[in-house]
Symmetry: C2
Subunit: 244 residues, 2 copies
DNA sequence: GGCGAGATCTTTGTATACAGAAACCCTGTT
DNA sequence: AACAGGGTTTCTGTATACAAAGATCTCGCC
């Protein structure tokens, strides 16, 4: 019935800011991340326009950018849909992120100042607390913040931007392929260990730490290819759009 | 006075194909690569629309996608311009490409079939011939084809797509920062050596080969930061658009 | 001669209209 | 009951109109 973004749109317009394509990109991205927009969801331009109170022009630009970020697929003359990365692509995305984030971690080791290290330390701690409280959304948020911080502070900005993209993409597939029974993808020791290596400046240890961390994360997923868990037909067959 | 794309547009329309945003993206990309559109060139939407015979809607989508590819910059309420990557970004782009293409080469080593190897061998040979003939544009084309072929056949498609992007970006900065006196960026032994490693399947040798090749390429550029060769003011100050 | 204020022009941002493609539904037939 | 066909609906592709932001130019002043 009602849209997912009621309050945020109201807040934005109340604050005097007019809705731009960037706003829509952010909101859709976040909704995909949190699985409020599951893969295959139809994103018709007019519906989105009505929801956000803008015309198709703005929505169109937003969808084009989301397609460039691999969040949605856009085929000619067809409605845009939330992308459903395959198992194969999931493995490849993880491999790419291991390579890139490993390098960023190595570059970053020993080059962060005390303030930055303190920020990370605080995030690591808050992630552990959230996990202890069973507040999984908060835990995910803090975990993402740690990785995003690395991407943002990467001495190599090009690699940093690439890492930002890969973090988004891996988050999507984690949400998608999380093993059914698993409550959380928390790995107790990984982030503290990473922080230690970043502090001491051991580049190769930091790289290995990130590598193993991401490998462990991937191993937590249900990527058994025998029964394609993402049944494309089932997903793409239904009519659900952005309103329910 | 007249546009750079006269013939190609005529050919496309004659062939019955209507001009799409993809067509424009390709043409602008190529023009930037070959420096027919130097950095800083203004790309007004109406002018492009007139040239390609389409309305601003199509041009707009093309520009958005070019911006996502880092080929042009789009600032709110300002005309889109061909991007002029800084020296710093150039170094970072090369570093990123070394990382990614090195990995792709390592993955690819020993996994190409005879047909694919033969294709590469032919390209390597033709590149050498073109260089001998002094036909630099042809030489560049064949060299690019070799690297693109690696990107396309990458077992990891995600890394392959990233590599495709990085090849474009490095090509742009090579054109930008090529040392003034240098006729060609040809390195006689690198591509044959790479081919040999791909054939024998020595992953680490292939990785090192790519790494050294790209490092040598970067060293051929004039990245002396003391006098910023790309004088932003000089470039952005002038009025030249896409027509002359 | 240099500099600033205002008018003018250029260019983008957004909405909207219309045409065409795709999806859907309903009906009639086998 | 399954299926093919045609009409309807939905949705995208493209062009265009208008408003607002930015750039430029001119003129008057110091």
């Amino acid at each position: 019935m009602s849209s997912i973004w009621q309050e945020e749109i109201a807040a934005e317009t109340r604050a005097g800011g007019r809705i731009s394509d960037r706003f829509i990109v952010d909101k859709v991205r976040k909704a995909v991340l949190t699985q409020r927009l599951p893969p295959g969801t139809r994103l018709p331009e007019v519906a989105l326009g009505d929801i956000f109170g803008v015309s198709r022009s703005v929505v169109r630009k937003a969808l084009t950018r989301l397609a460039a970020d691999y969040v949605v697929t856009q085929q000619p003359n067809q409605v845009a849909r939330v992308r459903a990365p395959s198992i194969e692509e999931t493995r490849e995305t993880f491999a790419a992120r291991r390579l890139v984030e490993g390098e960023v971690a190595a570059l970053l080791a020993g080059r962060l100042d005390e303030t930055q290290l303190a920020t990370i330390a605080s995030l690591v701690e808050r992630e552990a607390e959230a996990h202890a409280c069973g507040d999984e959304p908060a835990r995910i948020e803090h975990s993402l913040a740690i990785h995003h911080l690395m991407a943002e502070h990467s001495p190599n900005r090009v690699l940093g931007a690439m890492l930002t993209d890969l973090i988004l993409r891996t988050s999507i597939v984690i949400a998608l392929y999380k093993r059914a029974g698993l409550a959380s993808c928390y790995l107790t020791e990984d982030h503290p260990a990473l922080l230690a290596h970043l502090r001491t400046g051991d580049s190769e240890a930091a790289r290995r730490c990130i590598h193993d961390h991401l490998q462990a994360l991937e191993n937590l997923l249900d990527l058994s290819s025998r029964e394609t868990r993402i049944d494309l037909m089932a997903i793409l067959g239904q009519r659900e759009g952005v309103t329910e």
